[in-house]
């Protein structure tokens, strides 16, 4: 390795120093994961696949999936609202935020339903 490359690697280590995540992110993420684990897992995990043959049994797991998704999406909505306020964009920004949150909720629900 040339001296220049070695010196460049030293600079790269300094320039690309690891970044501590904001405390608020860790807090929010832990809260989301906890909500999803607690709200949905109890319902979904104990559910026998055989019970799913009867359409009358579809309501509870579907509700659990939505509850789990809602926990994550509620946070997404809150963040979108926060951004909208920062932007001071008024009604248009809030409408965009709500649309984004609905899209997120729908995507999360679809993924969970596909996997179960």
């Amino acid at each position: 390795m040339t001296e220049a490359a070695s010196s460049l690697e030293g600079l790269l280590r300094e320039a690309l120093a690891p970044i501590e995540p904001p405390a608020a992110l860790a807090e929010r993420l832990e809260s989301t994961l906890t909500s999803i684990t607690e709200m949905a897992a109890d319902e979904l995990e104990s559910w026998e696949l055989s019970a799913m043959r009867d359409p009358r049994n579809w309501v509870r797991p579907a509700a659990a999936v939505v509850a789990g998704s809602a926990a994550g999406s509620a946070l997404l909505l809150l963040r979108a609202r926060r951004r909208a306020h920062e932007q001071a964009g008024g009604l248009d920004a809030l409408r965009d935020a709500a649309e984004r949150a609905l899209r997120d909720l729908s995507r999360e629900t679809r993924k969970l339903l596909d996997e179960r």
Binding site: A4, A5, L8, E9, L11, L12, R13, E14, A15, L16, A17, P18, I19, E20, P21, P22, L25, A26, R28, L29, E30, T32, L33, I36, T37, A41, E45, S46, G72, L75, R79, A80, R83, A84, E86, Q87, G89, D92, A93, D96, A97, R100, E108, K111, L112, E115
Partner: protein, 206 residues
């Protein structure tokens, strides 16, 4: 009884996922930040990465055969970042997207502020093609070795070694060019824009 076993297993899985999360939150956030260059997007990316990881954790554990899961986590972040750029390129920026550009500079950038050498290196990294930039972020920000980077990028160990070698070589050239440019013309170059590069067949890619 079966339910108890299943619940214990679930509790164990959750505990192990919590360990993974605690061990690698900083890695995923650092990768996301250097990848997207924006504080809000990095937070979103980190959050989505761990939500997706949670959904597939059991299978990932099963298929990892005891190997570390950090490359798998970073690969999720890598794919989500690619999706983010793809989605953005398909629609015009909304007012909310615009707000991401208003965030205060990150402390790391404040750290390098005033240190011309580090600023030039960061600018140079931003100008690298995506795959080379990502490899350098994984190596220097996350301290991943060639094998881990290879798993995260879905390449062979050999191809990854070549990729990193070429990334450093190209960065040397970019930084060297910047040093020779007068300050005024250097400022006109589009920082953050990825340069296209000609791929050398059968080397970095396999």
């Amino acid at each position: 009884m079966a339910d108890q076993v299943s619940r214990k297993s679930k509790a164990q899985l959750d505990a192990e996922f919590a360990d993974l999360y605690r061990a690698h939150l900083r890695d995923v956030y650092s990768y996301s930040y250097y990848r997207v260059g924006d504080h809000h997007d990095a937070e979103d990316l980190t959050e989505q990465t761990f939500l997706q990881a949670y959904r597939h954790f059991e299978r990932a554990q099963r298929e990892s055969n005891g190997r570390p899961l950090r490359p798998w986590l970073i690969r999720i972040a890598h794919n989500l970042a690619a999706n983010l750029y793809r989605d953005r390129s398909r629609r015009p920026a909304s007012p909310i997207d615009d707000s991401t550009n208003l965030t205060a500079p990150h402390t790391t950038e404040q750290l390098v502020e005033g240190r011309d050498e580090l600023s030039r290196v960061l600018d140079g990294v931003r100008k690298l093609p995506d795959d080379r930039r990502e490899a350098l972020i994984m190596r220097f920000a996350l301290g991943m070795d060639n094998r881990e980077i290879a798993r995260a990028l879905g390449r062979s160990d050999g191809a990854t070694k070549v990729l990193i070698h070429r990334a450093i070589k190209q960065l040397e050239e970019i930084v060297g060019d910047q040093e020779q440019l007068p300050a005024s013309s250097a400022e006109q170059s589009p920082a953050g824009a990825s340069q296209s590069h000609t791929r050398e067949e059968g080397s970095e890619h396999d």
